[in-house]
Amino acid sequence: MRRQATALLALVGFFIALYLWLHALGVIGQLTCGTGSCEAVQASRYAMFAGVPVALYGVVGYFVLFVVSLVGATPANRSRRQPDLALAALASIGFAFTLYLTVIEVFVLHELCRWCVASAVIITLIWLLSLTGLRRAA
């Protein structure tokens, strides 16, 4: 159940990250932002990390989380602990990276992008789920 929830959350996160990445590529025009400052955040220097768009890290990260949790949720793998360990490691990296980006948004840019906030909520939930999985695996 936990891995299934992780898979669904990761899939939603994947689409959000893909949306931001497609916007960066010009496939999608203006971001549907409503309240918030999506363009200001996306146009900042922090929208790139090591020369790669931050959104692309999200696309890849969520996709890997989705695949691992999907495989881990199959009946054949349900009792194995490796998926829990892998999910905890991946989610922790994602959570730490998101924490860094959120700190940048709040304390450096003083702008918030609602899509980034949505992604932050999702990775936080995935991380918390992975911690409970880790406790069971121990």
């Binding site: 899939l11 999608i28 025009g29 146009a43 929208a47």
Partner: protein, 222 residues
């Protein structure tokens, strides 16, 4: 388990549909100069506005879009360093070319505004205004007034600017620049060509300095 797979498929379908809807609705947003059908390409051979030493041995051509967030990030974060380290020192001639992406509603209008400023010798000032003040991208309304405000800020003759914008004097140049970029197989912006070769490394001032140093050293040896 079956319910889980149904939920996965549902998220996949909804997510894909949502992305397709976003892409289509943005590209079909009508009205305004920015969304108008492109005009025929100009044949005046205008090579784009340049900055730096005309006789510099290293020439960088940038294909960019004023509405593109990564172009803005490059222009506001990296470009000041590039100007100081490579352009002001006479090592590089920097050329700007328009590559308005079709899904960006106001790119062509912004490019036109910059060209109209260029007519009065203020292209780079307008370039900095367009990239440096991004409120016009955030707001889903015609940014003509915002651009006119920039024109006033950089000290343009507003009557000439208005006439240039109204007649879309340089729309053909923008189209020619876009077609030039398409012929070079540009897939996204910003795109850079260093001495005619497509540069696909990191778009940072340090990376440009490294490549300029490398080319200069090779030239000295040669």
């Amino acid at each position: 388990m079956k319910g889980f797979y149904v939920a996965v498929v549902a998220v996949l379908v909804i997510g894909t549909g949502w992305l397709v809807y976003q892409a289509r609705s943005k590209s079909s947003q009508g009205g305004g100069l920015g969304a108008e059908a492109p005009v025929p390409a100009a044949t005046d051979g205008f090579p784009g506005y340049t900055m730096g030493n005309d006789s510099a041995s290293i020439k960088v051509t940038e294909y960019s879009d004023f509405e593109c967030p990564y172009c803005a990030a490059f222009a506001t974060v990296q470009m000041p360093e590039v100007r100081t380290q490579l352009i002001a020192t006479g090592r590089v001639l920097w050329r700007y070319r328009d590559f308005p992406i079709s899904t960006h509603k106001w790119s062509r209008l912004a490019a036109l505004s910059a060209q109209c400023a260029g007519e009065q010798g203020k292209f780079w000032d307008m370039h900095d205004q367009l990239f440096g003040h991004r409120d016009w991208v955030e707001q889903d309304k015609d940014p003509s007034d915002a651009f006119r405000g920039f024109a006033q800020t950089v000290g343009l003759d507003l009557a000439r600017y208005d006439d240039c914008m109204k007649t879309r004097r340089y729309a053909g140049r923008i189209q020619a620049s876009l077609e030039e970029g398409q012929a070079l197989n540009i897939q996204g912006t910003p795109a850079f060509f260093v001495n005619g070769r497509h540069y696909q490394g990191r778009a940072t001032s340090d990376a440009f300095k490294a490549i300029v140093d490398s080319l200069s050293a090779a030239r000295r040896k040669g």
